[in-house]
Amino acid sequence: MATAVLGLAGCGSRDTRTTVTIWHQSRPTERDFLVAEIERFEADHPGVRVRPLYKETEELRAGFQAAVLAGAGPELVYGPSDVLGTFHTMGIIQDLAPWISAEERDAFVEGAITSLPATDGSGRRAVVQIGDRFGNHLALVYNRRFVTTPPLTTDDLVRIARDNTVDGDGDGRPDRYGLVWNYTEPFFGIPFLTGFGGWVFQEPESEPPRPDLDTPAMAAALGFIRDLRERHQVTPANCDYELADSLFKTGRAAMIINGDWSWSDYLANPSIDAAVAVLPTVDATGLPMRPMVAPKGYSLNANASGDQADAAMAFVRYMTSDEVQRRLLQRLRMLPARRAAWDDPLVASDPTLAASRKQIENGRLMPVAAELRAVWDGMKPAYQAVLGGTLEPAAAAARMQRDTEGFIASMHQRVEPSPLVPVLGAGIGLALFVLLVRQWRSFVALATDLRRNPTPYAFAFPAVLVIFAVIVFPFVWNLVLSLSDMSLGRFRDWRVVGLQNYAEVLADRRLWGLSGVFLKTVLWTVINVALHVTLGVILAVALHGPVRCKAIYRLLLIIPWAVPAYITALTWRGMFDYEYGAVNLILGKWLGLPAVNWLGEPLRAFEACIITNVWLGFPFMMVIALGGLQGIPEELYEAARIDRASRWQQFWHITLPLLKPVLLPAATLGAIWTFNNLNVIWLVSNGGEPQDATHILVSYVYKSVFNLYRYGYGAALSTVMFLILLAFSMVFLQRTRATESVYR
């Protein structure tokens, strides 16, 4: 088997060139540039082949970590510098110092080359990324049809925004807002924070950095943002990235705060007349609003060595050469990393580039420390609570600080191996042994039965083999991981430490309390499955009978299943928008109901997730029920009619019991899938928004693993979830006798 697998895997054309793979998160136009440059590079270096692969931000991060852990992965990763602290701490990227001399470094603009203290404690600094451009900085984009001169100060900003918040048709809803931006991400609030004199970390930056969020500056910034909406009413009630973007693109917003990645789209859009300006100065402090700026560049996989590492670095050298840097500037209109290109006359003459450069010079370098992630996670709920009107700015600042410190603490949590680890190991061994001995007679019986009566085993074996071949290794791996201290600081050198993770899971009040994640998960599962099955059966029964256009109905009703959920969930998120969403428009227009703040209030957001998931899931149950209905003999209904059973009684006493064998497995598995359904929560509530209040267990795990790198904890929680589901299934199947047949 193994050889067959390897044989199949190994086929394909053999190329003698050294292959360098790059995982990058470039945007579409940048990708074209990258591909063109790769062609040029390969022409110059016949022995090297460069293979680019686009990965979305989160996917790149998670995928790269997994790949390096497996001893593989791309030679190079390309992207903004914000992940470098994490990669470096995990030990999955190399120190680039041997490839770049001090003189070479001097040719780069300051901040373009990122270095971090070496993890060996030597006090050296390791070069973790060589940048080829700057970006990711926010600036003000305004529509010249409405705004002639961009605001220089926040007072200007408010005035212009007020003038441009217009309700032309007098329906009480502005047709145009003065200012829009993405409220949901604290990243977009940073310019306000810096404008009021604050910063995310204490200065000078310590190691590890300490958050500095509970400051008057933070409170003032939050207050200002709130005033924009509450007092000046120049921004929409709710606004995420996509809404802000669409409003500005359709001329329904005069100004937008957005990053350099979005500008070319705006500038090229024929229905607006966009221009980029530097963010204004805050009147109260006299300080400019300073966005975060990050270099983008290349890092080298810790596993890369020899020819591949050299080839990869040759490519990096090529991409940061003056020649390519100039092309980068000219083609992409992005600010390159090398001084020579930075001072190109084009930068001064192009108004966008000029504004961009000025904004970068005005900006603050984005911290690369892994702790920044904890800052975002810590800021987000309180920031959203202020915008949701449930928290005062000062209290929010305090909460941000507290939450962030908590996150950083759990991120850096060091678990010492328990002295009981050998005992634990012995215990597990003993338990396995006892189990083996106790089951020994079953095994013997199995062996005899297998010889005497091989047919059923032969029928069942192939499926069982395939199912378990895939799952056993990951499953055992997770069990081991749940006993380990795998985390940010111990990513590659994790140890088995004992049951501490389980203790922590069981003691976590956020999970098990009355308003805890667990109960919410149960609620989520029960409501969803109940509605899936109910609606599915109702529709199947409605379809199962003398209905005209049956085929068309059937087809239209499975549409929610047919269209990929990753887009329809996003559509639903749009439909739940407070101001522009179809749900509120329909509620208001046809039913005269007040608008519901679906995505802004915790309970409503949870309801929105449930509605979306019910929509996604009912067609599947309908198909199952339709299939099941075919098996019910018509005579039973005839007999029932003779007995004068009403339609309802027929349904209740014939249809439902006979659908049971077909519906039960579907419902059981449906419950399991729903319990573990990450996608809908993640897409509709945008990762647990608002205020991390919509989490179910699986999204909670996801967040602690992928945002706080608590692998051991996550594995332990997953195991607990597994046990919960196992217990549920055993009880459920026992009570419903689903493993037995109705006719026996």
Partner: protein
């Protein structure tokens, strides 16, 4: 027998209401695919935007390797459907008709494979795939998808076999069939609705998955459709037009598969075979 009018009206009312609910969000996707300039959101209820364009659809075929991805996806999904149906129909039969040692335990164990949060299995799964040298192979993807789809399919088939009276097979065996022939000539044709659901489910599993595919497939020419489509999404600068247009096109084969299979779903076969 003709139904009372009020029942007919009730049927259509329920069906129409749900059809509206079903298709409206999808019409929204259509709307996104017709908008120029990658606007995910709109501020009104109009489905066809004033400035509609088919540019996104055109770009899919001219600028993107959409057809290549489509071919890949069709191949993988077809293979998974065939193996899934073959393995589930036999295993489900064993679980329904035979009483053997470890039967209940195995059935439960099959279910348990669905209970671990998939996101947590990704990392070890990648390690496994990489160690076995299955990166960038169809085989790796196929095994994984089949294994994912099988637990449901096996249980579903078992449920369907349970509704088929055992006496039919006994009759067949007396008529000279071996157990295998009885299964092939008598039981399988009668389990058609179950096979259809199994096939549909296997197909959908392989057709819409992208998280594992992203781990296994590292070369763009090996991408499946969902993986290609996900590529249109970038943090904060997604190509929503392409994304929506591709999503709509991706749904069409599913609709076609459903259309071609659904007639088997609605022809009651066991009716009248036996009298209980």
């Amino acid at each position: 027998m003709r139904e009372p009018l009020r029942i007919t009206i009730l049927r259509h009312a329920v069906l129409l209401a749900f059809v509206a609910i079903s298709i409206y969000p999808v019409l929204n996707v259509v709307s996104i695919s017709l908008r120029p300039g990658d606007r995910l959101r709109s501020t009104d209820l109009a489905i066809i935007p004033a400035d509609w364009t088919l540019a996104s659809y055109a770009a899919l075929f001219t600028e993107q390797p959409f057809l290549r991805w489509l071919g890949n996806s069709l191949a993988v999904s077809a293979a998974v459907t065939v193996t899934g149906v073959a393995l589930a129909s036999t295993a489900g039969y064993a679980f329904s008709r035979f009483r053997f040692i470890g039967r209940r335990a195995t059935m439960l164990a099959i279910l348990t494979t669905q209970m671990f949060p998939a996101t947590m299995l990704l990392l070890p799964l990648y390690v496994l795939i990489a160690r076995l040298g299955l990166v960038d192979t169809w085989l790796g993807l196929m095994i994984f998808y089949t294994a994912t789809a099988l637990p449901f399919c096996v249980w579903q088939m078992k449920g369907f076999y349970d509704t088929i009276p055992a006496s039919l097979e006994e009759a067949a065996r007396i008529d000279g069939c071996t157990r295998g022939q009885a299964f092939w000539y008598v039981v399988l044709p009668l389990a058609t609705p179950g096979l259809v659901i199994t096939a549909l489910f296997s197909f959908m599993t392989a057709w819409s998955e992208y998280i594992v595919a992203a781990q296994v497939m590292q070369r763009e020419e090996m991408f499946t459709l969902p993986l290609g489509i996900k590529g249109f999404q970038a943090s904060l600068s997604s190509q929503w037009g392409l994304y929506a247009a591709a999503s709509i096109l991706v749904s069409l084969p599913v609709v076609a598969v459903f259309l071609s299979l659904s007639r088997f779903l609605v022809n009651g076969l066991t009716v009248g075979s036996v009298k209980e």
